[in-house]
């Protein structure tokens, strides 16, 4: 299987271990990723809050390039994924088709679509193929799968997972030999860009997620969105600085977790770059 790859800005920076682990894991599962040449930022929340045209045309340019490659897109970041999917919908309107042509000389006919990492893993590759590659099952670990807001909450679009109770990542965690905990905050908001602009709200939202995952028995949190991952880590990092007696939960991307179960080392999976030490987990998997 071949996909056009839209890493997005985060995966080239704070989320680079997510990027690395996606390439490792999908490589083993026989998925070829071709990075979209000269891709640009999707505009994220800043564009849709500020300007309707930027919110559609910034992601639209990437859609048009990928359609030229004749490939569906993998966009692992939930924010990028949501903006690309919404742009696919908006580009059905003549107004935006014309604007795309006028500004970039490119066209988009809607022949390709944008997939998230969970759809690629559980929908395209499939659980059987993944199970075959599990070399070091992570038995004995309880993990909270955290989906965040945007992966399944795209209004008026049929999404891969259920909006209220997504389950594909839980099934993925179970495949790795670990136990996915049943917790009620799996699709609640982490605070998003309020981690930078509105700290009190951010700590309220992220703190509840960290405490909640721990309270329901999780020893680690896995995520699909690089921004959720960083936000939860930042919240835990701050908690540990302020109250050294507390040991916040480690938070990593689902593909980092999967890489560990597929037999990659902790170092290869990027565990040494986590801001919150993965403690016992690292000792267990460093075999």
């Amino acid at each position: 299987m071949k996909l056009a790859y839209f890493p997005g800005c985060s995966l080239h920076s704070s989320g680079r271990d997510y990027d690395k682990s996606i390439r490792m894991v999908l490589g083993k599962l026989g998925v070829d990723l071709v990075e979209i040449p000269d891709w640009n930022c999707c505009g994220a929340t800043s564009a849709h809050v500020t300007d309707e045209n930027l919110a559609v045309l910034l992601p639209a340019r990437n859609l048009a390039i990928a359609e030229g490659m004749g490939l569906d897109i993998l966009a692992p970041c939930s924010a990028c994924h949501q903006r690309l999917v919404i742009a696919e919908e908006e580009l059905k309107k003549e107004k935006f088709q014309k604007a795309l042509k006028e500004t970039t000389g490119k066209e988009f006919a809607g022949k390709i679509r944008t997939l998230g990492i969970l759809e690629v893993l559980m929908g395209k590759v499939g659980p059987e193929a993944i199970e075959k590659e599990i070399k070091t099952p992570l038995k004995g670990f309880k993990v909270a799968s955290y989906y965040g807001c945007l992966i399944a909450r795209i209004p008026r679009v049929k999404t891969f997972d259920d909006r209220e109770n997504p389950t594909s990542m839980d099934r993925l965690v179970d495949l790795t030999g670990a136990e996915a905990v049943d917790w009620p905050f799996k699709a609640d908001c982490c605070g998003a860009s309020f981690g930078i602009t509105q700290k009190p709200f951010f700590h309220k939202l992220s703190g509840r997620l960290l405490d909640g995952a721990g309270d329901f028995g999780a020893q680690a949190i896995v995520t699909v969105c690089p921004f959720c991952q960083l936000n939860l880590e930042m919240a835990g990092y701050k908690e540990a600085k302020e109250t050294p007696s507390r040991t916040p939960l480690p938070v990593m991307s689902i593909t980092q977790w999967l890489a560990l179960a597929m037999g990659f080392t902790a170092k290869q999976a990027g565990l040494s770059s986590l801001l919150v030490e993965p403690g016992r987990l690292r000792e267990t998997v460093s075999r």
Partner: protein, 190 residues
């Protein structure tokens, strides 16, 4: 259920509902106050008006109350309200329009850091085509204050290779300039 104070005192703009509807493509007049939005909103307890109240205020033409509210800036765009609305009002998207109207019409924004952040973000994308996280943080903090906040976190992130020091070469070529020019032109005529 809806804010009496505002309804009794503030001036009414009868064209407000129509303008919001036209600009957002969403129809707040379909709201019948079921409260699904406000009960699901993770920050409704921090808002001066909760989402269902904002819908009611729009229906009643309370333009100043809505565009001058803190609530439209407390919204974190999590889309919980949008996917739960039984009347198919994409409320999070409607709030984008309200914020744009508030900025355009010069309403006072108490949480000025938020538009500063978005401006810096989009400014960087315009010239570089992609976002450089460390540079965004620098420029944002220069404008919004707190330049030396979280230095320990920033240091650890750089040390662990989680923040690149230098931006990449610009991407997107002339396309991005033309996209921004187009958006600027359209914003002026709306």
């Amino acid at each position: 259920m809806f804010p009496e104070k505002a309804v009794l005192s503030a001036p009414v703009d009868p064209g407000f509902l129509r303008k919001v509807r036209e600009e957002s493509g969403e129809d707040p007049s379909r709201c019948y106050q079921c409260l699904r939005c406000s009960t699901g909103c993770p920050l409704s307890s921090n808002m001066d008006y909760t989402p269902h109240q904002v819908m009611r205020l729009i229906q009643l033409g309370q333009k100043d109350e809505v565009l001058g509210s803190d609530a439209i800036w407390v919204c974190v765009s999590c889309y919980t309200c949008s996917v739960r609305c039984p009347n198919d009002i994409n409320i999070a998207h409607l709030y984008d329009t309200l914020r744009q109207m508030a900025v355009r019409e010069g309403y006072e924004i108490k949480r000025s850091q938020i538009p500063i952040f978005h401006r810096e973000f989009l400014g960087q994308v315009k010239y570089l085509g992609r976002l450089h996280e460390l540079m965004l943080m620098g420029f944002y903090r220069l404008r919004a204050g707190g330049l030396f906040d979280d230095m320990d976190l920033g240091y650890d992130m750089v040390r662990k290779g989680r923040l690149g020091l230098l931006p990449s070469f610009p991407h997107g070529g002339k396309d991005l300039k033309r996209i921004y020019d187009y958006a600027g032109k359209e914003a002026k005529t709306s």
